[in-house]
Amino acid sequence: MKYQLYMALLGLVLTGCGVQAPTKSDTEPMELAAAMGGDTLGYARATGPQLFNMPSDLGAHPDFKTEWWYFTGNLFSDEGRRFGYELTLFRSALAPPDVDDESAGAPPDSAWDTRQLYMGHFSLADPETGEFYAFERFSRGSMGLAGAQSPPFRIWLDDWNMESESIEDLFPLRLMAEEDGIGIDLHLGRAKPMVLQGNDGWDPKGEGEGNASYYYSYTRIETEGTVSLRGDRIEVSGQSWKDHEWSTSALGPKESGWDWFALQLSDGREIMVYQLRRKDGSVSPFTSGTLVLEDGSKRALEADQFEITVRDTWLSPVSGAEYPSGWRLEIPSEDISLSVTPVQPNQELNVSVRYWEGAVDIGGSASGEAITGVGYVELTGYDTPPTDAQ
């Protein structure tokens, strides 16, 4: 459910606020609705389900305005140390395809010429110390500086790299990112089958034709490798989650943010649920989710099938935003009752648009049995004060 967040981020980038050193946190956050504007005319739209063509659909869909490749995971060392990581690369088209009339025609004689912009986010949570590291990068999608291809699968931005080690298949896959001495070098091996989100991978996001995305996930991928921590190299293993989503349309003006959960349960099932929050405090009807069974088959979860209750909050000392920090997730139809707790409170990314994206621990019961798990939660829109005062 990265969709709205990335539309917002890319909207910001397109209006220029994103082009600065990520360390600068003095920028006033933009209001989401303003950031998510942008002309969608001339781009391809996600108008209905269509067959994915693998492996080429693993790569880029440049005719759509927005696209991202998202990896998160919970990693553990033999000594019991644990980390949470996020590595996401986004693509955004700066101009719609085929507008090559005479006046808008780009000078064709430069290899730098491009309509594709890439953005990368990399974060690492270290609950042992409570440190949270977050980095952001931008690049143009030309000159080999950043790009997306398949087959063989490779998405990269500078030396941040998601690269398949096989010609035809996505896995095994290597993730590499490093900045300021903080890095990951992970091998993603055996994975549960791909899950097509929404309606066979077509996931409506709002009213109106084409306001939807193509969206698939790998909800559980065995992962091992190393985490670099300012000179220390720590061997780790664990589980990752991959999303790949592309679309053109934008989020509606009523939404203020969202809470998104990607949970990997100890019984071999995964849950993906999200709720869109509106400015008036209500929950959008486009709130939904998926329960992935052990064999990889899925069950859709409608908005009325689950309930999310906030148990605790955390006040960011950097942004002053107050985030939920601990939830209770009830899915009565599946007899699932979970408590979701961040592995550490501070997992706020102070990048172009501030958001919280963090590793969580899960406890609770399913069908009366005790259950545990790990996962990732994403919280957006808590940075901006409520604007319902008209």
Partner: protein
Amino acid sequence: MTNLSQQPSPSFPGRLLRRSSRRYLRQHPLLILLSILGVAVGVSVVVGIDLANSSARTAFQLSTETVAGRATHALVAGDGPIDDDIYQEVRVGLGVRQAAPILEGYARVSDPTGPVVQLLGIDPLADGDFRSFAGGPGGGLDLGGFMGGSSSVLMAPATASRFGLEIGSSFFLWVDGRAKEVTLLDMLDPSDDLEATGLDNLIVMDISVAQAVMDAPGQLSRIDLRLPLPIDVENMTALVEDRLPENVELRRAEARSSTLDQMTEAFSLNLTAMSLLALVVGMFLIYNTMTFSVVQRRSLMGRLRALGVTRREIFWLVLSEALLIGGIGAIIGVLGGVALGRVLVGLVTQTINDLYFVVRIRDLDLSYWALAKGLLLGIGSTLLSTIPPAREATRAAVSTVLRRSENESRISAMLPRLNWSGLGLAVLGGLLLWGSGTNIAVSYVGILAIILAGACWTPALVLLGSRLLRPVLGGVFGIIGRMAASGIGQSLSRSAVAVAALTIAVSATTGVGVMVESFRTTVDTWLTYSLEADVYISPPGTVFRRNDSTITPEAEAVIRSADGVISSFSVRTANVVVDNEPTDLIVTEPRPSALEPGRYKAIADYDHREAMRSRDVVMVSEPYSYRHGTRVGDELLIVTANGPIRFEVGAIYHDYASDLGAVQMTRSRYDIHFNDPFVSGLAVYVAPSDSVETVVEQLREATTSVQGLNIRSNRDLRQASLEVFDRTFTVTTVLRLLAILVAFVGVLTALMSLQLERRRELAVLRANGMTPVQVRRTVTLQTVSMGLIAGILSIPMGLVLSWLLIFVINQRSFGWTLQFIIDPMILGQAVLLALLAALLASVYPTWSMSRANAADALRAE
């Protein structure tokens, strides 16, 4: 109340002193005004040049700094532009984050001869750490518009309004005679005045647009890096060595601006020295005025001393009077200097743009330091030149009766000492010039010593001149003539200073005149033998003497195969790194001519022309060899596409195109070592049966649709070159004229004070029956004689100066060997100038004296 009344009142002599001072100043308004004018002009020339120089430097530095941004280092290629694949390797392969690609260049706006602007191609996504063009917080650059496929550019609002552009306006950028249409997407937003100056002439665009506009696919000027810590530099140095091609090197960001600063160093220094000359002449003027005022009041001072005024008080009185004159003069001078600076800065910029690089000066950089310096120089030089007369005043004997003759007898007694001092100064000057090596500033001090030596010798020479003139004038004008001539000798303390001031001023103009003329003749001769082809073709560049634009291969093919062209050769000017320094490399194809005599300053004992084709042999220009101490047989390390390679120097050739120096290589060797198929210029020979003008026309027609090129006949190119030459000496000429102006004011005051002082003497003559006409004639004859003596003295002095300027200053500044050409016209002009100044100077005293009532003048003051 009581306290106030109890304050000690000024002493009686003190009041007297001040009153005498006021009275004196009131009585000689014209003289004082002229002195003030003299100081003012001297100071304004110094301030004007200083401001012009520093403004050019500041403008250049600011634009360099603005463009360099926060970069600490840059990756450059030693053999020309850097391959843009290197950037990918640096960022993706080596994972270096703080790296930004830059493609820089120049273009003309709107039409092929429009104003020159600097182009800066950036990657907005990589540039944030370096420059704030691409939008700081809330900067709001429309990235989609900037790099999303349309040819968009940014510029500062001031730049846009200068070109009459608004957001959304489309206009053409001309590079190498080719035009690309671009659109003004948005304005750059300078955060302060300094940045506004830095951005003033800059057009910023995405790197893809820059490559298209400059027709430079695959090229970058450099890759900016931020390596804040020594360890970063160390790591990067290792990466460059191990992982990047051999022609890539890491350079510090400052190196760039300092290299370009050094380019103009000699030029600026010479201008400063010339401006100081005007001040030196101004100093003579002050000296003269103050001496005159002291001499005039000798008897008064004697009486004051008798009344108990101390020597010290007299000394300070004279000094404070001088301070008043110098202070007012300096203030006016500083104000005038600002005005003059505005004129000069245009001329200085023009020269820099013709010779070195493109710089645009938005406004005069009014640094307080430059203004304070002018003020201090004006007042300081006034005080310095007042010390001798002030000391003389303190020597006034305690007496009620005093005559100047005592002074005159003293100067006669001083003559031997003056002559010896002159000799001493001359020897000192000679030693300074000989021992100063390449130091131009010290060389100028040496020249100053020699000028002062000339001034010391002037009294003796004036005496000699007046004795020689006496029989001549006596023969022609009778008693009046003899009186006029001996009068000069009798009032030696006055006349010698006047003559010295005039001599120095006139000889300075002669010296500079002869130097410029010699230079021009040398360049003309050089052009004659180096421009051997019939027609020259080059793309319009932005710097006349350093054109590294390229002719498109299509245009080249059209020209080479055109009707009427029987043969042709190409020239390529590239900037490469030679012995760790960016250097102009001139690449030539073999030309049909035979060995040109006089073309070389030194050659190897083998056939260097053959060697340059068959092995790694190059030749260097005379300025290059001078700047780097390069001799035939030395080796140069030139960075080529294949890495650094040693080349042997086979010859040193005369070249007046650039004082920066150049290295020349044959095309065949260049093609082996460099990946650059382009040419910067073509020279073609026309069949004897065809008219050159017709072929020029045909070539213009044939290429017009391919590329806008400058196609000039041999004669036109030579003409254009000389025009640029003359233009570069405009500043010099202006300075020369200003020095003449100061000299003229000096002579005017010197001669006027001299004649005014002789009022009583002339009144006696009148009383003894001399008619006003006869008095007038005596005075005129005397001043004109002095002018003549000064004019004649200025000839040897001027020749010495020009010799020093040509063989010492020019050699040491630029490394050029010039022919020493003495144009009798210039020498004649000098004498005429001196005579004219003298004649004009005699007008007022003559008029006032012949009108004066003899009885009034005779009355004691």
